[in-house]
Amino acid sequence: MPVAQATHGLGGLKDDPTKKSKPQELNVLIALIVIVAAFELVGRVFLGDSFLFNTRDNVDAIFNTARLQIIILQVSIVGIIALGVTQVIITGGIDLSSGSVVGATAMVTMSFAQTALVNGQPNPKAIFGDWAMDLPVLAPVLVGLGCGLFAGLINGALVAYTRIPPFIATLGMMVTARGFSRWWSNGNPISFPTESYGAIGKGMMPVLIFVALAVLFHLVLTQTKYGRHCYAIGSNEQAARMSGINVDRHKVLVFVIAGGLAALAAIVLSSKNLTAQAGMGVMYELDAIAMAVIGGVSLQGGRGSILGTVLGALIFGVIISGFTFLKLDAYYQEMVKGAIIVGAVVLDQWRQRGRSRG
């Protein structure tokens, strides 16, 4: 199957990625429905409660809206990262640095988002002097974006121009950026941002930002030259180069965008939590990669879509909420989560194989 896919993509600039990946996303959607149904069934049988539907007499609603909200809210931030990771993987790369970039960006951003007075007292976590206090919200956002774009630029330049594998280049960034975030304030957390900064990640804002970015990058990947080049390079880099695509420059651009998205995630995360800590974002890169892979993005490159990744993120959210709903013992949760990740992909492979035979 992968061979057929690769030949299909050979020099495949005319190849329409939307047509190719549609059934792929259908699989993910089915997996999502199966998992939701499983939680619903187990809940009804063992707890006498519903996972999706409202069972409270004092609330007038068909669905349990609070649960539906948290399912997507809790994956929105990693989901933003996953949008960038998806583009990197489709182009045939990998980005291990996004979690650390989130940590580093959060630390820097929060340093410029602090408020001078906390409960009438001077900010006990102040990083800089008075000049950096109570800045307009645009200042920390721009500084943060700059951080992420810069980290992405280094990643991209290393991959494109030194020709070291993306795994190694971004591994280096992963370690360096984590070190940087610890160094920035000697491991101290940075807290108490201005009210306007805190508004960025308040309530359902993370979901709104995630969905808006998902729609944007879905259009970018399906409708623009940039998107077609991503698939072309990921399917067959040699062919893409021959057909005149500036592969190196494109790779840099993809990593810069991924870095920018990681920075946006950091801004939303630190705003939502009203704090930045050196350990923020640990393992986010792997969760983001898992979301993409569950969503049908192939680690071989050239295959996958933003829609798939969004569905992958939803599967993640459903699993987390489902565990809490079932009151599954915390000691089992990660083992089950790991099994579900592998299971979802294996299932998808089977269906794919079945179709190519049949």
Partner: protein, 312 residues
């Protein structure tokens, strides 16, 4: 190869910088709490004219053992160790015992505590107290609100961490031992890995079940703050829920001043540092020291918060 290189560099540093005094090996320099502890050692040493050399084991068990051996080789009077891995302390104890150098473990309980030789000791706060103080105070506040029965959620720290396991066990012990002022039932207990963002999501998930509850007991302040943020986002009246944490961090004290966090517990890192140094000095003079020296945890509530604002 890499290990011998590091050992070589460390031994070079050890022999040049150190003739006598106390050698200190910290598990990690860039940890917030351990930094307060390390500063406690340093300032206590400066105040009493004790010469100390503090090394960073960078969370590496092998590196820490090398540092201890280098302290021994350079003839220190005593060694203070903040162990990277509490199950890897036997080798350190053996090395120091063989050389006859006194050794004091600080903050993290060594696995071989019960079999430590006479010239070794352990200085820390007893985690049995932290969760107990927290839970009893939560219970007291619930009783004060006029409740006789109450339901609570428990947010645990990292499941592999001894403090998280102990603090959670403390909660159960208080309830089972009849030390709780109300009849407290635990609805569910889950982990947030000590983290605010995970605790926030966890609490929102709990809220979505619609189960009524009266208290949230967290293993640490960051998790308690995450829960508070989720409760506030859902429009829950903070006066109707008792929230407890442990650590008395700056963020937690601010939340307490705002009337959101009700209980936290202060672990005196600086006192642990100075206590460990005192024990090391005593042992080096041949004086006896208790095998385990406990620095008490202190309950922090809105009533006494003023005493703690400048401590962490």
């Amino acid at each position: 190869m890499k290990k011998t290189l590091i050992a070589g560099v460390v031994s070079l540093m050890g022999t040049t910088a150190m003739a006598d005094g106390i050698g200190v090996s910290m598990a990690l320099f860039d940890d917030n709490f351990l930094t307060v502890l390390r500063n406690g050692i340093q300032s206590h040493a400066d105040a009493n004219g004790i010469s100390v050399q503090i090394e960073d084991a960078q969370n590496d068990v092998a590196k820490q053992l090398d540092q201890i051996n280098n302290f021994i080789a350079s003839g220190v009077d005593a060694i203070v160790v903040n162990p990277v891995d509490t199950s890897a302390t036997q080798a350190m104890t053996d090395a120091a015992a063989a050389a006859g150098v006194p050794l004091v473990y600080v903050n993290r309980q060594p696995v071989n505590l019960d079999t430590l030789p006479d010239n070794q000791a352990f200085v820390a706060s007893n985690e049995v107290d932290s969760g107990t103080l927290e839970t009893i105070e939560v219970c007291r506040l619930l009783a004060e609100m006029g409740k006789t029965e109450a339901a609570a959620y428990v947010i645990m720290g990292e499941l592999s961490n001894q403090a998280a396991v102990q603090r959670t066990k403390d909660i159960h012990d208080v309830i089972d031992g009849g030390k709780c002022a109300v009849k407290l039932t635990i609805i569910d207990e889950q982990t947030s890995n000590w983290r605010r963002d995970e605790a926030q999501n966890l609490m929102t998930n709990w809220l979505s079940t619609g189960t009524p509850f009266d208290a949230v007991i967290a293993n640490n302040d960051e998790s308690a703050i995450g829960a508070i943020q989720a409760l506030k986002a859902a429009g829950v009246d903070m006066a109707s829920v008792v929230v407890g944490g442990v650590d008395a961090t700056q963020d937690a004290l601010v939340a307490m001043q705002a009337g959101e966090l009700d209980v936290t517990v202060f672990q005196n890192a600086a006192a642990q540092g100075s206590g460990a140094l005192d024990a090391a000095v005593k042992l080096s003079k041949g004086e006896a020291v208790d095998r385990a020296v406990w620095v008490p945890f202190e309950l922090v509530t809105p009533a006494n918060i003023g005493d703690y604002l400048a401590k962490n």
